[in-house]
């Protein structure tokens, strides 16, 4: 039976955490809190160490509205700084990546080293009367830690250390990521016309496997639903570690997996993923790894960065097969990822004008199959950090 306006506005779920109000995607106040209380205080996966192989290699990115860059110092240590000159705030490094033994501001030629110290100011005598000294003009350093080859950053100097934040969320990737050096071979960035959570939900929602023809043909029947195990780690992190794929079910994927060595600790038909709060994901499909990072641009625009990783120094014939395996599902020309992008943008259309009022995350299957436990864990952490209820996000509650 169709519903009238009052019925449509009513939450369609008996359990408190089984639905989420559409205004979590659209309200400017919610978005502002997310930037400061979620992205401004949590660890964010910034890049992979293979993107900074040499001393002075740098990599620029944005996080929580701030321009940042990671740089490998003369001592080999990777550090992160706000990408702004101490003098007038000009952006220091304009290329997405490069190598800079000295970081020289284009504007007044102030100079910094790879540890963020200000090493040169033209005509410093002019600042003597004001008591401005070079030693106090270093760059703003951002906390940086490495885990399994990934560089994580946190803008909050008081936040718990990375290990405490992650808990065991990457435990299932210890062998895959930690046995041999890996290398990023694929990088793409797409600006999506949707809220950042709409994208991240595609990585947390197993029920939408039905949308993808490749998953209908390779994944849904590859193992009994009740044998699947969802993993909820705390702090909003979650994943699953034992999915299977039967690649022969999709024309064009036949024989996949036997033609290149699988990554350590995994088989060619294995699929697992961990989603890291608030908006990163690491996925492996036996022979190849995908990593997503999400940067909100506005409540309705999201920058999605995707990386593909293979084995550093592997033979070219292995690399080309691994790239092919990556591209079959992932990347902007994959059979899977563009459909997820389509879904995120299509949901946004209905929530934007308030037409859609709720989304349901109420599936309960004892943490197997297509349980929504991962989504509920995400929104529980989201509520804790924003001080807002996912069911009534326009009113802040005491935390």
């Amino acid at each position: 039976m169709a519903r009238d306006a009052a019925g449509w506005a009513q939450a369609p779920c008996a359990t408190e955490d089984g639905c989420v109000a559409g205004s979590v995607y659209t309200d400017p106040g919610v978005y502002a809190d997310e930037l400061t209380e979620v992205f401004g205080r949590t660890w964010r996966l910034a890049c992979h160490e293979s993107e900074l192989p040499e001393r002075y290699d740098y990599r620029c990115f944005e996080h929580a509205g701030q321009p940042l860059f990671c740089i490998r110092g003369a001592d080999g240590v990777i550090r992160t700084f706000v990408n702004a000159c101490s003098h007038r705030g000009a952006r220091l490094l304009a290329e997405p990546a490069g190598n800079a033994a000295k970081i020289v501001c284009f504007y007044h030629l102030w100079t910094y080293d790879s540890k963020g110290a200000c090493t040169g100011i033209p005509r410093p005598v002019g600042y003597e009367a004001a008591g401005v000294k070079r030693a106090g003009l270093g760059l703003r350093e951002v906390r940086t830690e490495l885990r399994l080859g990934f560089v994580f950053v946190n803008l909050d100097d008081a936040a718990p250390v990375l290990g405490e934040f992650l808990g065991d969320a990457l435990g299932q990737f210890e062998t895959i990521l930690g046995t041999q050096p890996l290398e990023v071979f694929h990088y793409s960035r797409n600006v999506l016309q949707c809220n950042w959570k709409a994208w991240h939900e595609t990585n947390m929602d197993l029920y939408h496997e039905y949308m993808h023809v490749v998953l209908r043909k390779t994944q849904l029947k590859a193992m009994p639903m009740e044998d699947r195990r969802l993993l909820v780690y705390g702090n909003g992190h979650a994943g699953t570690g034992n999915l299977k794929a039967a690649y022969d079910g999709y024309e064009g994927f036949r024989g996949r997996g036997g033609d290149v060595p699988p990554l350590p600790g995994t088989g060619p038909a294995d699929f697992r993923f961990s989603v890291l709060f608030p908006a990163s994901a690491i996925l492996s499909r036996g022979t190849v790894i995908r990593v997503d990072t999400v940067t909100p641009i506005s409540a309705r625009e999201t920058l999605l960065e995707m990386r593909g990783l293979g084995v550093l120094g592997e033979p070219p014939e292995h690399r080309s097969i691994r790239v092919q395996h990556h591209n079959q599902y992932w990347g902007p020309m994959g059979r899977n990822v563009p459909e997820d992008m389509y879904a995120a943008e299509e949901c946004e259309r209905a929530f934007r004008g308030g037409a859609a009022r709720w989304q349901l995350i109420a599936r309960q299957e004892n943490s197997t199959g297509q349980d929504d436990a991962i989504l509920r864990a995400f929104y529980a952490e989201w509520a804790r950090r924003t001080g807002r209820s996912p069911q009534d996000p326009l009113h802040k509650v005491a935390t």
Binding site: A97, H186, S188, V191, M211, N327, P332, P338, M341, Y342
Partner: protein, 164 residues
């Protein structure tokens, strides 16, 4: 290699590239493949300033491409229509070591997307680097033997695996 030796004129090469583009615009994939050799290879590449490396985003043999195109109706994808606007095709002799009887044709392209409501936006720009099998001197059965799509645009919005 001269045009005469290659068996095809620059104008004929440009027409081949243009007709292949028209077929793709019309999603006449059978027609597009008819302009390709039996061992056609299709590849999409782009330079990543972030990684400071070339990347391959798609690499398909003819049979793989046929399977991909056959599966398109089952996939979700951007609605609307694509239109490929081509620049002049520049024809050069194939580099040393290339198969005898081939030319290299380079064509800039811009692809516009028109959505179901009739709104048109520029979607992607790049170049086709086509290897054209010219056949015997004087023959008129030139075909695309390989297409390398080199993308300038790297943000493809929601992406697509429809050939550029």
């Amino acid at each position: 290699m001269t045009e005469a030796a290659a068996g095809i004129s620059s104008a004929a090469a440009a027409e081949l590239v243009a007709r292949a583009a028209l077929a793709l615009d019309d999603e006449d994939f059978t027609g597009f493949l008819a302009w390709c050799t039996a061992d056609f290879r299709y590849e999409v590449r782009t330079w990543s300033p972030e990684l400071r490396k070339w990347m391959t985003w798609l690499a398909q043999s003819r049979s793989e491409l046929e399977a991909l195109l056959a599966a398109l109706p089952e996939h979700l994808r951007r609605r609307g229509r694509l239109l490929r606007q081509l620049g002049p095709t520049i024809v050069d002799a194939a580099p040393d070591g290339a198969t005898e009887g081939t030319l290299l044709a380079t064509t800039s392209f811009a692809i516009f997307h028109t959505d179901p409501d009739g709104r048109t936006r520029l979607w992607v720009v790049g170049r086709y680097r086509d290897r054209i099998a010219t056949g015997a001197p004087g023959a008129t059965d030139a075909r695309l033997a390989a297409r390398e799509v080199v993308l300038d645009t790297r943000d493809l919005g929601i992406g697509s695996h429809v050939p550029f």
